[in-house]
Symmetry: C2
Subunit: 380 residues, 2 copies
Amino acid sequence: MSSHKLCMIPGPIEFHEDVLQAMATPGTSHVGPTFIPVLGESIELLRQILFTSGQPFIIAGSGTLGWDMTACNLIEAGEDVLVCNSGYFGDRFGECLETYGAKATHLRVPIGESPDLAAVSAALKTKKFKAITITHVDTSTGVLSDIKGIADVVRRESPETLVVVDGVCSVGSEEIRMDAWGIDVVVTASQKALGAPPGLCVMGVSERAIQVFKNRKTPVANYYANWTRWLPIMNAYEARKPSYFATPAVQNIFALHVSLKQIVAQGIEKRFAVHKEASAKAKKFIHDLGLTLVPTSLDHAANGMSAVYYPEGVTATDLLPKLAAHGIVAAGGLHVEIAPKYFRIGHMGISVTEPERGHLDATLNALKASLVECGYKGAL
Amino acid sequence: MSSHKLCMIPGPIEFHEDVLQAMATPGTSHVGPTFIPVLGESIELLRQILFTSGQPFIIAGSGTLGWDMTACNLIEAGEDVLVCNSGYFGDRFGECLETYGAKATHLRVPIGESPDLAAVSAALKTKKFKAITITHVDTSTGVLSDIKGIADVVRRESPETLVVVDGVCSVGSEEIRMDAWGIDVVVTASQKALGAPPGLCVMGVSERAIQVFKNRKTPVANYYANWTRWLPIMNAYEARKPSYFATPAVQNIFALHVSLKQIVAQGIEKRFAVHKEASAKAKKFIHDLGLTLVPTSLDHAANGMSAVYYPEGVTATDLLPKLAAHGIVAAGGLHVEIAPKYFRIGHMGISVTEPERGHLDATLNALKASLVECGYKGAL
């Protein structure tokens, strides 16, 4: 496809040719011997990638469905949840929790800041929280939250509180060690640093959280998202046995399987490192252009994306079409309070693990050229 | 893929090469100009295929998610729903409705029978039903329900009752005319006669049902399946404008779009006719082999699949591996009461609209050969 523009938004990302080839797998029975080991092995690979002995789930749906899965399976009506809110996705996760009867207390931080450990500690003292949610990387701001630090605080202050991480924009690009760090739930999706097309909700759930689910007193108020139905299905596929609840997205799972194998083969530790390196390079380039990141410090800036304020005199309608003309698709702002003031680029997956593809260099060079075309002089 | 066996189960089906090619579309922004018209036009094509001026929805998930969408958006807690139950999927839809607080009354028919219009009429007189659900083709039994006849009865006996059709195994292979027949909801999925890989929940909702949704008194008790969020998204894409709630399954929608265009280009009326012809051919072949269908009459046997009892002395463990050795993947039984006694084959999509592919002939010949290998003499 010569007309293809590089998809350098913070998800969906650019996908490996072998992943795309797997998307084109011919019609295959969801309960047959060709597919069963593919889903079974994908579940096992996710355990390695999330560093957990817990239970992965791979379900047809968007990452958003993982919020419903968390809310309807782990929280019972009337229970309190502390939402560490670092942007758009904290607001939305809170809404989802409240839909299922949870009482959400938002610990909001100013735009560009990350949740403060002392503030989390103080909030945990105010009442008994069933769970705390943290947006690991808020895709709307590019802010990286310190999930290890927060999980530490929770384990110290309120050991029974479940630690839930929205890792939609972090799994595969940011360091996560579920069991070692005491994280109970990671919600993610296929289309970001897991490197497969959108359409799969992917989760990791600690054994402790599965026990909390099994001990709940009230029925789960959702049908499609109900782990009562999905847990036996995931167990069956992992045991290489057919089982049926709802038809899985067979081709998407073939594709995810290819990508998960690539991730493990390349090495997960190395993956964390190359995303950090690529991000540092992108952020230095952005800084040298005289531009300002939305995150107020590099210490809490995501490694898989950059959210950047337009310089004075440049707007979305100026910059984004010029980037597109250079063959680069970037994203506009999403956080409602500052949406027209900033743009976002993704640097995840093959665009950074295979630098010989030149995606990031092409993106940064196109950014510089486009800014010049916009009349920006800044630090050029 | 020389090792590919024909997927002749009642969904997922065999997919067209152009559909599979679209699944391999490179990473593409879900809010960019390449994708927006693809989803927008898919919505428009679904209106044509469902013969409705109502609102289509295309959402990442399995067909099962369409039950949740129906239950949580259209039914309020405590309301009565009449479930025309012709197999496994009636039981499950009933469970889903009850999860959201509906009171499900099951109108059960014996295995292999289809719901009787007089019984529907009588049931409608017993109380006020908010909705009636009908499994158009129960994939577990291959029974075809008379949705036109039932909708007629409902309009006469209880005009305000919403007519909800589970068309997962019928849309694209059985005649459905939503507006002319007075059908309010059709739930389906991508992987059967719509001809695209699994992973998309597809719905058509009448204008009347959308009004019922808009006039509901209680909030929708689901986040991901909530039409309050999805309706503006569908409207935006149809207006060719970007909008975001949850990331759509971009590649799956590219693939669905190709298949929907093929369906409309080939002619919807012709599609109904060729599925009837192929089914008649399959059923005659099965009859001539001395085998018995699960549906008790050809008048209510599905046109997109056949559910067939094993002849005496033949079992699933005999027949299905032999079919596989002949390159044909068929499905075992699913209805819990008779599961080990029958098998199922699908004849939908390109396997019947493009008979030059020889899929159905290959399947029927393999069936005959496999039965002989099983020692079956019957009517051979």
